[in-house]
């Protein structure tokens, strides 16, 4: 229904930017992440073709997906925390702990495995809840709190599983990380779907609002403390799922194998275009970021880079990606 204009209407002026310009401008981080992922896949496929005389097939795709699952899940959890303008360094500790728990308690009947899996996810959620309560109620800096809990969770993991060992039933491994096909992508699809639901829920709006401007969010009636506590708790549950995938992939447990995920989850989040200052980002971007990280490792392998120098090149690539990403983002914003 057209509204009648009255004299006190404000004048129309200025040209509006087209809708597409808004979509591109507001999702530039995600678009860049998808682009970099695409490029890294093309480069990898090219190198593979040259050296193996064929394109990567089902085996390569499956192992890439299976190897990336824990990082992708951890990165989604990290994204949810980072959106509230927090950061979670305890990722590695929670994965260590849940991985160790899985290796010890999983073997058993199907029902047993389901119950244990759920309990392990609850344990991850409790670990996250501890982070959230200290950060939220204590009004402390997330980086300090989660640095401390990282060590605590690592210590607990060593206590649970002093030496690498334990075992994960084959059926469990085949269910999560089927080696004959990239079925794990289904779980990622579920995670992405979960993200889209979250994005459209009250909690999703609150997460973004708190990360945008906490005092303003509070003035708008958002329960900021509750939102943050939930963010860390959901993060912890996702790290637990990552720990389960890691155990399934390795068919056993190791109380230190998760340590790397603290930093790599942050790398994936950054590559995925999630703003470390909160309030902007997407879990889909973080999933792309996780795959980019894996593709870089694959590319370095095919480039016959000495594994000792691997982290050097990873770091180099990260710096280049961040610098160029920032530049392109600024250009797009200015151009539109």
């Amino acid at each position: 229904m057209p509204m009648p204009r009255d004299p006190a209407d404000l004048p129309k002026h200025g040209r509006r930017r087209p809708r597409a310009a808004h979509i591109v401008g507001q999702n530039i981080g995600l678009i860049l992440a998808v682009t970099i992922l695409f490029l890294s896949i093309v480069i990898f496929a090219g190198m593979f073709l040259v050296q193996q005389d064929r394109l990567p097939g089902s085996f390569e795709i499956t192992s890439t997906v299976n190897n990336t699952m824990p990082l992708a899940l951890a990165a989604i959890g990290q994204t949810i925390v980072v959106l509230t303008r927090g950061i979670d360094l305890s990722v590695g500790g929670v994965i260590d702990l849940t991985n160790a728990l899985a290796a010890i308690f999983l073997p058993g009947s199907v029902l047993h495995m389901i119950i244990v899996s759920i309990l392990i996810i609850v344990a991850g959620g409790l670990a996250g809840l501890v982070n959230g309560l200290i950060v939220g109620l204590g009004r402390l800096q997330p980086i300090v709190v989660t640095l401390a809990t990282l060590s605590i969770f690592q210590g607990l993991a060593i206590r649970v599983l002093p030496q690498p060992g334990g075992s994960v039933p084959t059926g469990y491994t085949e269910f999560l990380v089927n080696t004959s096909g990239p079925t794990a992508l289904l779980f990622l699809g579920l995670a992405a779907l979960g993200w889209m639901v979250l994005r459209r829920s009250r909690l999703g709006v609150d997460l973004f609002a708190v990360g945008n401007d906490e005092p303003a969010a509070i003035a708008l009636g958002v329960r900021a403390m509750r939102t943050k506590i939930l963010a860390y708790t959901i993060g912890g549950m996702l790290y637990a799922v990552a720990g389960l995938f890691l155990a399934a992939n390795a068919t056993g447990g190791d109380a230190t194998t998760g340590d790397d995920y603290t930093l790599t989850s942050i790398v994936a989040v950054v590559l995925g275009g999630v703003n470390l200052f909160g309030g902007r980002g997407s879990a889909v971007g973080a999933i792309c970021g996780a795959f980019i990280t894996t593709m870089i490792v694959n590319i370095l392998f095919f480039a016959h880079i000495n594994p000792l120098y691997q982290s050097f090149y990873e770091g180099l690539f990260l710096v280049i990606a961040v610098v160029f990403g920032g530049l392109i983002g600024r250009l797009v914003r200015r151009g539109s």
């Binding site: 009255d6 209407d9 808004h22 709006v205 973004f208 401007d213 703003n275």
Partner: protein
């Protein structure tokens, strides 16, 4: 005539504060303040900065809990547990500090908490923009793109969105804390049309502003605040009387007499072929001892001009001459060396140029630390002496030079900025909206200070969002429009009306 008004006799009180007190740290913001808001009235709330208006509105809006005293809703005492609680009870508040979420779209901001939803309660993100567009159009707003991020729209537009967000929730009671401080005349008219509409529907409204003409044109009753407490409530009161009550002393003419500019004064600053982004260019020259005003509608590049002259970032194009010599200003240090100083009130008042947690002293002496240091170590005694002198010279109200500058009122923060450039011996001062949101008494002091600085031979480039102030405090005013000088006004043609009409002529067609 100005008789205290007997409120309860003729109107029903819908919202009231009874002897409300609130302290922040050591500062007593409210000392037993009371207010009675009648049904269907527009209640103007005036007072100096720090008089307690904003604190009272925050208490009534549920954002802060009072230390003592009662809030009455429909005559019943209520304890508001938070902004959400107030909203639920039908109290809508536009706080002075904007609460838009910068990286979310205008539509998300406008509709937060009442988004269009699917049957299962999930938000229909695709329908947000369309709904926001319709809602805005219903309020007579057609120029704001609901798909833009809040950070991408102008400050005035953000203020309008903030107001719209509250209005569409159909509050019974509407609290507006300085909603017009960033709006131009036309937007104020829009707001007043909305306020009249709401009043005719029975909404009760509290409205604060530092602009007296706005208060008198919209308020049914006026309550004056001073020192955290009401002085009285009036149905009619003239400005001088009101200012006396607000300040507790009589302020003579608001604007000081202007010192004359020496006839043969050389240009201290000359700008030619300057561009603010578009193809149009302009130029001007500013003599020592002159106050040159820059006027025009918001968004015409005033801010870019001021920051550009200071090299933060530099002007896109243009030649700058200081004392006749062309100089290149690529960054603020170039400008400071050339004798330029800038006082810029950031649009969101969050301290551009001031280091808020640091003491007044450090903020004053920042650019001259090299001069008062021996082998890189600051001579403390000299620093203390210089800052003490500047504090007394500019009448900066602060308990001591060691007070964090962020705890001072807005007007006093402005004085610190001006003082900094006086210490740095700047000869050209770029003063951008230094009196915005500043109370009457402090504004008066700042105006006097500006006139005195001109008399001492400083060249002053002056922008103000208050056209009255431009008309009275400047020797000359250039009105910018579309990147060029649309009019140059000198007395007697220099009036507020002339500035406004030059600023908006053909503005709709542009």
């Amino acid at each position: 005539m100005n008789s205290p008004h007997a409120a309860t006799a003729e109107s029903v009180a819908v919202l009231g504060a009874q002897t409300v007190s609130k302290a922040f740290g050591g500062v007593q913001a409210l000392r037993g303040a009371s207010l009675v808001l009648g049904a269907g009235e527009v209640h103007g709330l005036v007072g100096e900065n720090g008089a307690g208006k904003s604190t009272l509105i925050k208490v009534l809006g549920g954002r802060i809990a009072p230390d003592s005293g009662t809030v009455l809703l429909d005559g019943q005492p209520v304890r508001l547990s938070g902004p959400a609680d107030s909203t639920r009870r039908g109290i809508g508040t536009v706080f002075q500090e904007l609460t838009l979420l910068p990286w979310m779209s205008v539509a998300e901001n406008l509709l937060i908490g009442r988004e269009p939803r699917f049957p299962l309660g999930l938000i229909r993100r695709g329908a947000l923009a369309g709904e926001a567009e319709a809602v805005l159009a219903g309020l007579g707003i057609h120029h704001i793109d609901p798909r833009a991020l809040a950070a991408e729209v102008s400050l005035a537009e953000r203020q309008i969105i903030e107001i719209a967000r509250v209005i569409i929730r159909k509050p019974r009671i509407l609290l507006l804390d300085e909603p017009t401080s960033s709006l131009v005349e036309r937007e104020v008219e829009w707001l007043f049309a909305r306020i009249r509409e709401l009043r005719s529907q029975g909404t009760s409204i509290v409205f604060t502003s530092h602009r007296w003409n706005e208060i008198t044109s919209i308020a049914d009753r006026i309550t004056i605040f001073r020192n955290g407490k009401e002085v009285g409530t009036y149905t009619a009161i003239d400005e001088t009387e009101a200012i006396t009550l607000m300040t507790g002393r009589r302020v003579e003419a608001m604007y000081p007499p202007l010192p004359s500019v020496p006839a043969n004064a050389p240009p201290a600053l000359a700008v030619s072929d300057a561009s603010l982004g578009g193809a149009a260019t302009f130029g001007f020259s500013l003599a020592a001892g002159e106050i040159l005003g820059i006027g025009g509608l918001a968004g015409q590049g005033h801010r870019e001009l001021f920051t550009g002259l200071f090299g933060a970032p530099p002007l896109k194009r243009g030649t700058i001459r200081v004392d006749g010599k062309p100089i290149r200003i690529a960054r603020p240090s170039d400008a400071i060396r050339a004798g330029l100083g800038i006082a810029l009130v950031p649009e969101d008042r969050k301290g551009e140029g001031l280091l808020l947690p640091l003491p007044v002293r450090d903020n004053l002496t920042l650019p001259i630390l090299g001069r008062i240091s021996t082998f890189g170590v600051i001579r403390g005694g000299e620093e203390a002496r210089m800052s003490r002198e500047m504090i007394s010279r500019l009448k900066i109200r602060t308990p001591s030079a060691a007070q964090p500058v962020g705890t001072l009122s807005g007007g006093n923060q402005q004085k610190v900025l001006v003082g900094r450039w006086l210490l740095a011996e700047s000869r050209i001062l770029l003063l951008y909206d230094v009196t915005r949101g500043v109370d009457v008494a402090t504004k008066h002091e700042i105006c006097e200070l500006i006139a005195r600085l001109a008399q001492e031979g400083k060249a002053i480039l002056f922008y103000s969002s208050d056209t009255e102030e431009l008309a009275h405090l400047c020797h000359r005013v250039l009105v910018l429009r579309g990147g060029r000088v649309a009019a140059e006004l000198t007395p007697p043609a220099l009036t507020a009306e002339a500035i406004v009409s030059a600023a908006i002529r053909d503005a709709d067609a542009a």
